[in-house]
Amino acid sequence: MNLMIAAIAGAIITTPALLIFVLGGGSVDDALFAALATLMLTSALLVVTMRDIIRCGLAMIVAFLALAGIYVIVGAPLVAAAQVIVYIGAISVLILFAIMLTESKDAPSILVFQTQAVPAAVASIILAVLVTLGISATDWGAAAVRFRLGTEALAQALFRDYILPFEVVSVLLLAAVIGGVFIAKRETGDPG
């Protein structure tokens, strides 16, 4: 059953890519990009629309994977790696865990969506349009082609220019953990 759905989904997702590749005469990258982009957007939409929150979680993982793929295409393999490790490895698991904890199950849409869902949709579409317009109206002084980045260059930059933020992020995580643990841990005598 799920396989069926997955297959159908796959078909839907790959079609635009194939179209571009065959008819548009674009490169393989283009096709891949198209495919991954479509996949990402679809699964993202699923994340925000599906009723069963667990499925939402899974869909989110898919979206992140697709995003990781895009990172590879755009030429930031390290980011892609981090994406896979941190998001899929850590965050998503955390979230799924939380879902279990809070017993949020499949629910009727009344429990899923706000009464203001429609205005919300309108607002987000307007936002998207505005952003798109803005982007297309701007000359970013971008290079014609993307350039790949060597790991050592990256390390260079990281430890020369960005050592401070790098260190601070660890502090940030430390703080988050200490506080998070305190808030989340059940005290004796607490309700629940």
């Binding site: 982009a37 957007l41 955390l94 607002a123 930059a157 960005y162 992020v169 995580l173 989340a184």
Partner: protein
Amino acid sequence: MGLANSLDAYLVLSGALFAIGTFGFLARRNAISMLMSIELMLNAVNLAIVAFGSFIPTLKADGSIIALMVIAVAAAEATVGLAIIIAIYRNRKTPLVDEYDHMRR
């Protein structure tokens, strides 16, 4: 026709993802879904950043590094968020955020 080579494509994509995230945040009732929507938005931003990194000459490596940092930050945020969600779930026995309206006006 070089989608993969046009910065705008990536940016528009990220914009779209951002919008979807926003919608999720505005429309969903469950705290965790809202958290997920935020994650989507952050990823959208990340995509934009990485894209800039690999198209804007002067940025070079910076893009990726910023992206990494953002991922880390997002992780921290998620930790805190989930902790709080669990805490309030203990008090209110529901994950539906819009029922947390004891304070108003």
